[in-house]
């Protein structure tokens, strides 16, 4: 079931001002039904016209809240960052398919690049609940623009890479993955920028991997066919409906 409801903003705090924010929204129906990997579509103001897809960062069923972790990019996310507690938020959700959650024999690995870490935290919580051990690899541009590491530390050991080397290893998550021992890992999940996903595609035979993809969305509910991504069989699938979670082997990054 998809809901279009007005949530109530509980808080909207900068993690890094003008850059990354965490917003907690009270909305019963979505909090009760959302699964990790799903997203919501938010009407951020008069302009932009379109809603903006944002992943669910965390769910609190008891408090009937969901939270989102978002990065200010353009007008829509700027609008979001200017909202304050007690304002209403027009949201549609939960949307899309979630990640696979079950008890795996070996460990799970979460791989996040930049704001791509957003859908992975709730996933980690639910994987842990299911009895899994978790390892995490996160990539940022630099120490100053890294965030939410404390959240992931609660899930398991975190390895970090930054482009300028100011925190963790120098480089992208690639430098960590290149020397990573996948023997202990049964399942990996990743979300991040396109170059990262393309790199992960090269590991498809080494590791069982689910990706959360992004695509420009019109409707968010599967009607407009704008958000498609190419599959290895040559067909297009809708990121908003069949996705945003895909098996790495399904997707094709060749143009």
């Amino acid at each position: 079931m998809i809901y279009k409801n007005y949530g109530n903003i509980i808080s909207n705090e900068p993690i890094i001002k003008n850059f990354v924010y965490l917003m907690i929204i009270k909305e019963k129906n979505i909090a009760n039904t959302a699964r990790p990997g799903q997203f919501i579509e938010i009407k951020t103001g008069l302009i932009p016209l379109l809603r903006k897809p944002i992943s669910i960062f965390e769910v609190d069923k008891e408090k009937e809240t969901i939270s989102i972790l978002y990065q200010v990019k353009g007008q829509g996310t700027k609008n979001l960052s200017e909202l304050t507690a007690n304002e209403k938020l027009d949201i549609i959700g939960p949307l899309g398919q979630g990640f696979t959650i079950k008890k795996f024999a070996k460990k799970c690995l979460l791989i996040g690049g930049g704001i791509g870490i957003a859908p992975l935290y709730d996933l980690g919580l639910k994987l842990k609940e299911a009895g899994n051990e978790i390892e995490i690899i996160l990539g940022f541009s630099c120490k100053e623009t890294s965030y939410a590491i404390d959240y992931f530390s609660k899930l398991g050991p975190v390895k970090i890479a930054t482009i300028d080397g100011s925190l963790g290893e120098l480089g992208t998550v690639e430098v960590i993955l290149e020397k990573y021992n996948f023997k202990d890992i049964d399942k990996a999940y990743a979300c991040g920028p396109e170059p990262m996903l393309k790199y992960l595609k090269t590991l498809e035979d080494e590791i069982d991997l689910e990706l959360s993809l992004e695509a420009y969305m019109g409707c968010g509910v599967g009607a407009c066919l704008s958000c498609v991504c190419k599959m290895t069989d040559g067909e297009y699938k809708r990121v908003c409906k069949e996705g945003p979670i895909f098996q790495v082997k399904e997707v094709s990054f060749d143009e």
């Binding site: 998809i2 279009k4 809603r51 549609i92 695509a215 019109g218 409707c219 509910v221 067909e235 297009y236």
Partner: protein, 302 residues
């Protein structure tokens, strides 16, 4: 009598509010939001003789308060529609209007015949696609080709036929008269305007197909003007669309001469907009003490 009963000649709708092709899928995707039988009709996503996978992404972008799309008529083909989609849409309790596109005039005839079946209330003929046999000129920009398509569809179906006009023409009235001459029962208008957007960082068009169809609020004044002109030029009813977001917009189209209206891009912004408009028009009629919305069709011409 029902204040909103909508008579489009051969096609009767319970109210004049429909949803536009390509923006509402086959309806299925909106069933969680409300009972589809509340709508006057659903124009389903464009169908073609054969399956089409559509254009390479990026297929859509917001710009200037509207959107540009170039989906490339992705769809499963007419057989898939008949076998897999129609059985479900039959149960929606609203008029199902099938939007058809082709690359040749024969394609249109083939589609019309195939779709002359139970569950299809009318055919909406999208002529904003290139004629592959005429060097890619769009059917809908040449009055003779538009006339030929209309006649071909007419000859292959007894369903009401709605010819959907492209706004990318010098004289919309000539196009309207051409399709009326070819036997159109109804005109729907407008399809999207051709637009583009450039990413200045990448120095490249944003839409992979370079150009795309521009829709949403920014095109309303142009659509409204065209409906106003066509109302004076033909004797068949008009389904008006182009940037309708609220009751005021819908009433403007009706006053310009539209007998019904269609909601497109607005469905992405708020799926409840069609229902809000039905409600809003009823309230307007009450406030003005009008017995039927038909009393204001074309009112701006008086």
């Amino acid at each position: 009598m029902n204040k909103l009963e909508c008579n489009l000649g051969k096609l009767l709708l319970k109210n004049p509010i429909t949803v536009a092709s390509g923006t509402f899928g086959s309806g299925k995707e909106f069933k969680d939001f409300y009972d589809l039988s509340l709508l006057g009709g659903i124009m389903v996503k464009g169908t073609t003789p054969k399956k089409r996978i559509g254009n390479k992404p990026q297929r859509l972008v917001e710009t200037s308060g509207g959107i540009i799309n170039s989906i490339g008529l992705a769809n499963g083909g007419v057989n898939d529609f008949i076998n897999n989609i129609l059985p479900e849409t039959k149960n929606y309790g609203t008029e199902i209007i099938v939007n058809i596109s082709g690359g040749t005039i024969d394609d249109y005839g083939y589609m019309a015949e195939k779709l002359s079946i139970d569950g299809v209330s009318a055919l909406e003929v999208n002529i904003s696609c290139p004629n592959v046999k005429a060097g890619g000129i769009t059917f809908g920009t040449d009055p003779k080709m538009a006339y030929e398509v209309t006649k071909m569809v007419k000859n292959n179906t007894s369903k009401p036929i709605i010819m959907k006009l492209s706004p990318n023409v010098t004289d919309i009235s000539i196009m309207a008269q051409a399709v009326e001459g070819g036997g159109a029962d109804i005109i729907s208008m407008i399809n999207t305007l051709i637009g583009m957007a450039i990413d200045i960082e990448k120095q490249k068009p944003i839409i992979n197909n370079i150009i795309g169809g521009y829709s949403g609020p920014p095109i309303k004044p142009i659509a409204l003007r065209m409906v106003y002109e066509v109302y004076k030029s033909v004797n068949i009813p008009i389904i008006g669309m182009g940037g309708i977001m609220n009751t005021t917009d819908a009433l403007e189209f009706i006053m310009a001469g539209a007998t019904a209206i269609s909601i497109g891009t607005a469905n992405f912004v708020d799926p409840y907009i069609p229902l809000n408009i039905i409600d809003g028009i009823e309230k307007f009629l009450d406030r003005k003490c009008l017995k039927s919305y038909t009393q204001i069709i074309g009112a701006a011409h008086r």
